[in-house]
Point group: C2
Chain length 201, copies 2
DNA sequence: GTCTATATTTGGATAGAC
DNA sequence: GTCTATCCAAATATAGAC
C-alpha cells in the first residue's frame, strides 16, 4: 500500500493537532454536563441541554460520545480521578488521630462540594446507568488508595468498614438535611476521636 | 332540595360500602406499585405497568389518584407509617446500650428490607417528586419518635446527630456494597458499644 | 368506573445534505 | 463535524363513549 511509505502518519489517523482539538471539545462538553447536573440534578440531564450549553445541536454530540450513558460514564471517571487527586494531596503524619481527622474532613468536603458528583459516584441511583468495567476500575483504585492510607496505622478490614460507614453517614446527613451548612461537618473531629479511642482499646 | 330529605345519606355522598370498595382498590394499586418498584427500581415505575399489574388500563388509575406523583406521595406516607410501626414495637429497657443496639438493628433492618422504600423515604433522589407538606409531617413524626426513644437516656442534640449519621452510614453501605449480606449489619453491636462508651465519658 | 382513542411532551438516536 | 429533518419510543394526562 502507498500509505506504508509514511508509517508514522498513516492515512485516517488524525494529526496530533486535530486530536487535541477533539479532546478539547470533549472536555468542554463534559464541563457543560457537570454545570447542568449541578444546577438541575443528575437525572435531569438531556442531550439537548448539553448541546445548547456548548453552542451545538444535539446530534453533533454524537461525534464526541456514542450515547448519553457514555457521557455519564466519562463523568464517572472524571469524578473518580478527582477523588484520587483530593486524597493524594493529604499529608500523612505519624499520628493516627490527626490522619483520621484530616482524611474524614477531606472525604466529607469532597462529597458536599458537589452533591451531584456524590450521587453519581456513591449513590448510584441513576435510572439506566452503571459504569463500564473499565470505568469502575477507577473507583476501585480510589477505594484502594483510601484503604492504603488508613491501613498505614494498622487497621483491619472490619474497622475500615466501620470507618467508611461513619464517613458516608456524615456526608449523607450533611447533604440531605443541612445542605450548605456544617451541622454534621462540625461533628467530624469528635467522631474521629470516638473511632480512634474505640479501635485503640 | 329533595336530597335533604335523607340527610344521613345525601345524594353524591358515596355509601360506606362504595367508599370501602374504593379504598380497597386504592390499596391494591399501592401494593402493585410497591411490588414494581421493588422489582425494577423506584424511578422505573410507570402508570401502564401499575395498571397492568392490577388488571386495569392506565387511564383508569386516575379515578383513584390524580397523578403519578400522588401515587408516590401515598407510598411515602405508607413508608413513614411502617417506620413508626417498626419502632413502636421495640421494647424500652433501663439499659442504654441494649436500647441503642436494638434500635439500630431495627433501623438498619427497616432500610435493608426494602431498598426502594429506603430510597423513597431517605435518599429523595426521585426526579420530579417531593412529598406534600402533609405527607412530610408523617416523616417528622417518625423522626420525633426516634429522638424521643433515644433522649430517654439523656442524649443531647449533637449526640443524636452523630447517631443518625452512624445509622444512615451503616444502612447505606450495607445496601450499596453488600446487598443481601451482613457485612455492615454485623458491625452494629460493636458500633453501638463505641458510641455508648464515647457519650458516657 | 372503565374503556378506547388521542393529545402532548419529551428525549434519545439516526439519515443524509453540506 | 455540524447541521436540519425526522424517527421512534415512552409516558403522563385528557376527552368522551358506554
Amino acid at each position: 500500500m502507498l500509505d506504508d511509505v509514511r508509517p508514522d502518519v498513516p492515512v485516517r489517523t488524525p494529526t496530533s493537532r486535530v486530536r487535541k482539538r477533539h479532546e478539547a471539545t470533549r472536555a468542554e462538553i463534559l464541563a457543560a454536563a457537570w454545570s447542568l447536573v449541578r444546577a438541575h440534578g443528575l437525572a435531569a440531564l438531556t442531550l439537548r441541554d448539553v448541546a445548547r450549553e456548548v453552542g451545538m445541536r444535539a446530534p453533533s454530540l454524537y461525534s464526541y460520545f456514542p450515547s448519553k450513558n457514555a457521557i455519564y460514564d466519562a463523568m464517572y471517571v472524571q469524578g473518580c480521578r478527582e477523588f484520587v487527586e483530593y486524597y493524594e494531596q493529604i499529608p500523612v503524619t505519624d499520628d493516627a488521630l490527626t490522619d483520621l481527622r484530616a482524611g474524614m474532613h477531606a472525604f466529607v468536603r469532597f462529597c458536599t462540594d458537589d452533591p451531584a458528583r456524590y450521587q453519581l459516584l456513591f449513590q448510584r441511583t441513576l435510572p439506566g446507568f452503571e459504569p463500564t468495567p473499565d470505568s469502575f476500575s477507577w473507583a476501585v483504585r480510589g477505594l484502594d488508595l483510601l484503604r492504603r492510607r488508613l491501613s498505614v496505622h494498622g487497621y483491619d478490614e472490619d474497622v475500615l468498614d466501620l470507618l467508611t460507614a461513619i464517613g458516608t453517614g456524615l456526608a449523607d446527613q450533611q447533604i440531605s438535611n443541612d445542605p450548605g451548612g456544617d451541622r454534621w461537618i462540625r461533628l467530624i473531629d469528635d467522631a474521629m476521636t470516638m473511632f480512634h479511642n474505640h479501635v485503640s482499646r
